[in-house]
């Protein structure tokens, strides 16, 4: 394989959302409103985004709330379709938008390991091979057959994280949810991502934690109202970002 092969290619991607004024539609409203488009707003969460992530690069996406970061991450993860443009990815792409996805309180720790890990693309066999490691790492050996609802919050979080450490990915998409939790947990996550980065996994990270962005990523993309405002080495982007928002005239 060539070194310049891109792991993620985003080509002039735009995404529009249509927001009905009312949350839940009924059939009657649909029939009455069939001939009009009233009662709906639309907005563009992303406009003409283009960039390329070479294999092995670690890229952060920063921006204020509502700048389109999560939408972009979901489009790369395949959860949303772009309204225009396209995304190409190479290798196995795994989205880590939340820990413990699909966890079922009434099922045992063991069942939840298999369930959650399969959502991250691990086969049954792969999970079986890594099962002991997961249980050891989460320190729940005595509780694997107990229902998850009997676990403490800490145990459940450890289990969720232990499963994610076994993910096999070429491209890992991480949302800031990983940074929640206590300090020790955050450090563990950072440690884990550094290890992945050093093993050549491309990481696409959405984060508010600017010092971490500089520490972890070689490059940062600054999204502002759905457009790329800056795309440069992480240190430069973070500096410009901080300067921009600390300047009083651009507050709000």
């Amino acid at each position: 394989m060539m070194a310049q092969e891109s792991a993620v290619l985003v080509e002039v991607v735009s995404r529009r959302f249509v927001v009905p004024h009312q949350r839940a539609y009924t059939l009657k409203q649909a029939l009455l409103g069939a001939f009009s488009r009233r009662g709906r707003d639309e907005f563009w969460a992303l406009r003409d985004i283009s960039f390329e992530v070479p294999a092995g690069q670690t890229v952060a996406v920063i921006g204020r709330n509502g700048s389109g970061k999560s939408t972009l991450l979901r489009i790369v993860a395949g959860i949303y379709r772009p309204t225009a443009g396209y995304v190409r990815t190479r290798g196995r792409v795994v989205g880590l938008l939340e820990l413990g996805i699909g966890f079922q309180p009434d099922l045992s720790g063991r069942d939840n390991i298999y369930l959650n890990a399969s959502l991250f693309g691990l086969t049954r066999r792969q999970v079986s091979d890594r099962y002991d490691q997961i249980v050891d790492f989460a320190e729940i050996a005595d509780f694997v057959d107990a229902p998850l609802r009997t676990y403490s919050t800490g145990m459940a979080a450890r289990l969720a994280f232990a499963i994610t450490t076994q993910i096999q990915a070429d491209v890992l998409l991480v949302d800031e949810v990983l940074a929640v939790g206590d300090r020790q947990f955050t450090l563990k996550c950072i440690e884990y991502m550094k290890k992945l980065r050093d093993s050549g996994v491309s990481i696409f990270l959405v984060s508010h934690d600017l010092p971490r962005v500089v520490e972890l990523c070689s490059r940062a993309i600054w999204l502002d109202q759905g457009s790329v405002r800056m795309d440069a080495p992480a240190g430069q982007v973070v500096q410009a970002y901080i300067q921009h928002y600390s300047a009083p005239q651009s507050a709000g």
């Binding site: 959302f17 839940a24 539609y25 009924t26 059939l27 009657k28 649909a30 979901r74 993860a77 395949g78 959860i79 949303y80 379709r81 989205g95 938008l97 939340e98 996805i101 699909g102 079922q104 009434d106 099922l107 069942d111 298999y114 369930l115 399969s118 959502l119 991250f120 691990l122 086969t123 049954r124």
Partner: protein, 269 residues
Amino acid sequence: MGTWRELWEYRDVLVNFIRRDLKLRYKSSVLGFFWSMLLPLAQVVTFVIIFKYIMRFGEKNYSVLLMTAFFPWMFFSQAVLDGAVSFAANVGLLKRVYFPRLILPLTTLGSNLVHFLFALLVLCVYFAYVRVTVSWGYLPLALLAMAVQLIFTFGLMLLVGSLSVFYSDVKFLLAAVFQMWMFFTPILYPASKVVETRMFPQWIKSAYFMNPVAPLMMAYRALVPLNEPTKILASYWQFFGLSAIVAILVLVVGYVVFRRYEWEFAVVG
């Protein structure tokens, strides 16, 4: 096509989801399975008391007549009613992780099918107990009917599942429709009663048999002699063909609607 290869790659998710549904339904115990059978069995007992002893139906083996159609019907209605919320109830999951969306209705169909097969075992035990003779010659027809039922069920699931993401009242409407639908399908009574009655003109009788589920129930009943005069089945066999055509059409429409809206499921919730 890429869709099928992708589904195959995600087969472990499907298997894990089905296991999850069954474990939650049975609470991981054998006794749990019998608890889950309690409601349908209570219904069967009630119908038997009403129609055999109070209404004096006079059918031989009424309980057998009832159960041969009632169990497949329960599978059908439960799968479609569950299918109505298979996307809507999982929007949180759809927002957080990518997997082929078809996995969700396939999970609902799969877990309901496994449950139906377990229920069939109960049925077989009962039939052995009351010494029912089985006309094995009709087994291919019954299996064909089950294939049609699966196609029809999955098509309806895709259709109502996709719609109920956007329209919250679909599932309420469905509950009412299925209630009526059961009574207008030969389940509580043999189809011959409808053929023989003088209350209805011929066109109403024909309309009755255009119900795509009716010929399927008659096919299941053909397995047990005396259950459904096979004469009637023979003269209404063309409705079986119609049923198969409707089932395939519904699957096509359901799949098209699903394809049209699947990318909105994670957005709407």
